[in-house]
């Protein structure tokens, strides 16, 4: 038997530098890919605007009927809330739990697992790149909505800075919980009921449907102990509301806490899911 001498593997770049390189490369790819579909992305965003516009019209009408405000919130506040809502909602779009099933079924996961990088890194990096396109497309849309609905918005520089961080915090927070939920797909192809339940809770307790102060007290209390409001209400409120510096700092801290909780839950679920996948082959 002729044995050919083994060639050395290629050298590797340093870990931190190469991780940053991976994120930038993937984000760049996502931007390229999503700009190819800019029209589709725009239609998608237009579709998404329908939801807050309905809420906005309803609350503006109620405010007008009640002498200009609802529980102290003016029509201008509602306009600002729901216009910022459109961006936060877009930032909240992540690699959703149900897509894990597709990833397993179509063999993409197997391809990802033979690479020396956790698929979660790819999801975070790719959707982060997509967000860059989303933000670029959102700006003209927000200007159009502002011209129509006349929002009241007068943020301080600190609030703008916190908002800029908080929308990415919201993105990471939701990524962690959606990915954790997605692990259900390793055991069942009927996870839809649980995903729907989660979405309903999110709709009610996040501030997506209405600003949280308009919800009953007990709902507000419950929402304090759940991650939803930190991915939705807090980022909006950091820009639109009148939060103190301490409240802004506390909001970011809660975001970080929930991101870490979500990451820990994901890690546990992932270990178990991969053990199951390795045992049965998906």
């Amino acid at each position: 038997m002729t044995v050919v001498p083994q060639a050395a593997t290629l050298p590797q770049a340093g870990r931190i530098r190469s991780t940053a390189d991976f994120y930038l490369t993937t984000m760049r790819l996502a931007v390229q890919e999503q700009f190819q579909y800019r029209t589709a992305n725009y239609f998608f965003m237009f579709g998404m605007v329908a939801e807050p516009v309905i809420y906005l019209v309803v609350w503006t009408t109620i405010a007008d009927q009640q002498g200009g405000s609802v529980q102290g919130f003016t029509a201008g506040y509602f306009a600002a809330y729901y216009i910022v809502w459109t961006l936060v909602r877009n930032m909240n779009i992540v690699f959703g739990a149900p897509y894990w099933e597709q990833r397993i079924r179509e063999g993409d996961l197997a391809g990802a697992l033979v690479r020396p990088l956790h698929p979660l890194h790819y999801d975070i990096a790719y959707f982060a790149g997509w967000k860059v396109v989303v933000i670029a497309l959102w700006i003209p849309l927000a200007i159009g909505l502002a011209l129509v609905f006349d929002p009241t918005l007068d943020p301080r520089p600190l609030e703008i800075a916190v908002f800029a961080v908080a929308i990415w915090g919201a993105y990471l927070l939701r990524t962690m919980f959606q990915s954790t939920l997605g692990m259900l797909c390793f055991w069942t192809t009927r996870g839809a009921a649980i995903f729907d339940l989660w979405m309903t809770l999110e709709l009610l307790l996040s501030g997506r449907l209405v600003p949280l102060p308009l919800m009953p007290d007990w709902v507000q209390t419950i929402s304090w102990f759940l991650p939803f409001q930190w991915a939705f209400y807090f980022p909006i409120e950091s820009l639109v509301g009148d939060l103190s510096d301490a409240e802004l700092a506390r909001g970011l801290a809660f975001q970080l806490l929930w991101i870490l909780i979500g990451l820990s839950l994901f890690k546990v679920a992932w270990r178990s899911a991969i053990r199951h996948f390795s045992a049965v082959g998906g």
């Binding site: 593997t9 890919e33 390795s278």
Partner: protein, 326 residues
């Protein structure tokens, strides 16, 4: 020297749920689920030396892909041991994943909407390849597979064969030392198959990579593999040189003979497989080949004569048929 691939008593057992068709069976299964044990890989053992190219053959469902998945860390073995370049694949260590590649002929791992060059960039980042090493390696692979024009088109616009070629470039950018190739030429035309075969051979020579190849095309195996491992029902039926496969399993040889009188009855020499003008092809028991050839030469006016081993496709068929009947 340490083996590149070492497998000892490797097994994989799946529990497969099953039930009869119909409403009654469906209702029963709610209360009492039935499942069956399937031994996909049943205690196989073999070693592969560094730089060796081995054909891994077997019919559908024989356990080939399951074995490859265990060797690449996708499946956890039920029993036995596997070591690839000293790593236990099931641990899926990054150092291990950087040294192997798994190419599945029916899977696409490139970005569908972007040119392959962009996906190569992503692989560079994932495998942490310094650009100074990446660019020459990429260009070299592109040249070897002659895909310079293809890598600039969105992957979705490529034909199956073109996609496979650019896929292979992407899978080798990190210069893996062990290649698991699962049907890399499936569905490709003959020219494309040849191109991929010669590419794998060149890569093996140039980089000393170890290759474990499954293919239903015997031409792939004949062109690339001196050694084959044949698996059936999860068990190894044969492990040795490709030429030895015919010696062990083919009980016959074929004698092609051109006679001055092509109409002579040759049934007494062997089974007449084919007549084409004066050329007659006979199948004869391997042990009697010399004796029958001598008789033919002495008793008939032979113009030309050729003795051939049974074609490898037929040998493989014989191997599987034999295994089925046992």
């Amino acid at each position: 020297m340490e083996h590149a691939v070492h497998i000892s008593g490797l097994e994989k057992i799946f529990m497969v749920p099953e039930r009869e068709a119909g409403l009654v069976a469906a209702t029963k299964s709610l209360v009492r689920r039935q499942s069956r044990e399937v031994r996909a890989v049943d205690g196989i053992s073999f070693d592969i030396a560094p730089g060796e190219v081995v054909g891994f053959l077997g019919p559908n469902g024989a356990g080939k892909t399951t074995t490859l998945k265990m060797l690449s860390g996708l499946l956890y073995p039920t029993g036995g041991e596997a070591r690839i370049l000293g790593h236990a694949p099931s641990k899926r260590e990054k150092a291990f994943l950087r040294r192997i590649t798994l190419v599945m002929g029916n899977r696409n791992q490139l970005q569908w909407d972007l040119p392959a060059l962009d996906s190569y960039e992503l692989n560079r980042a994932i495998y942490r390849i310094p650009r100074a090493d990446f660019t020459p390696m990429r260009d070299d692979l592109i040249e070897l597979l002659d895909v310079g024009d293809l890598v600039r088109k969105p992957v979705r616009q490529l034909s199956l064969g073109e996609r496979m070629k650019v896929e292979i470039v992407g899978a080798l950018l990190h210069r893996p030392q062990v290649l698991f190739l699962d049907e890399p030429t499936i569905g490709l035309d003959v020219t494309m198959q040849k191109r991929i075969r010669s590419f794998v051979a060149t890569y093996n020579e140039r980089h000393g990579a170890t290759v474990l190849l499954t293919s239903h095309y015997m031409a792939d195996v004949q062109a690339l593999c001196k050694r084959v491992v044949v698996i059936h029902h999860g068990r190894i039926l044969f492990d040795g040189p490709l030429t030895g496969l015919a010696d062990q399993f083919a009980a016959y040889k074929t004698i092609g003979v051109a006679l001055a009188d092509g109409h002579v009855d040759l049934d007494r020499y062997g089974e007449v497989l084919h007549r084409d003008g004066d050329w007659v092809t006979l199948r004869v028991p391997k042990a009697e080949t010399s004796q029958l050839t001598a008789r033919l030469l002495s008793e008939q006016s032979v113009l030309d004569l050729r003795i051939e081993d049974t074609p490898i496709e037929d040998v493989i068929e014989l191997v599987f048929a034999q295994a089925r009947s046992e």
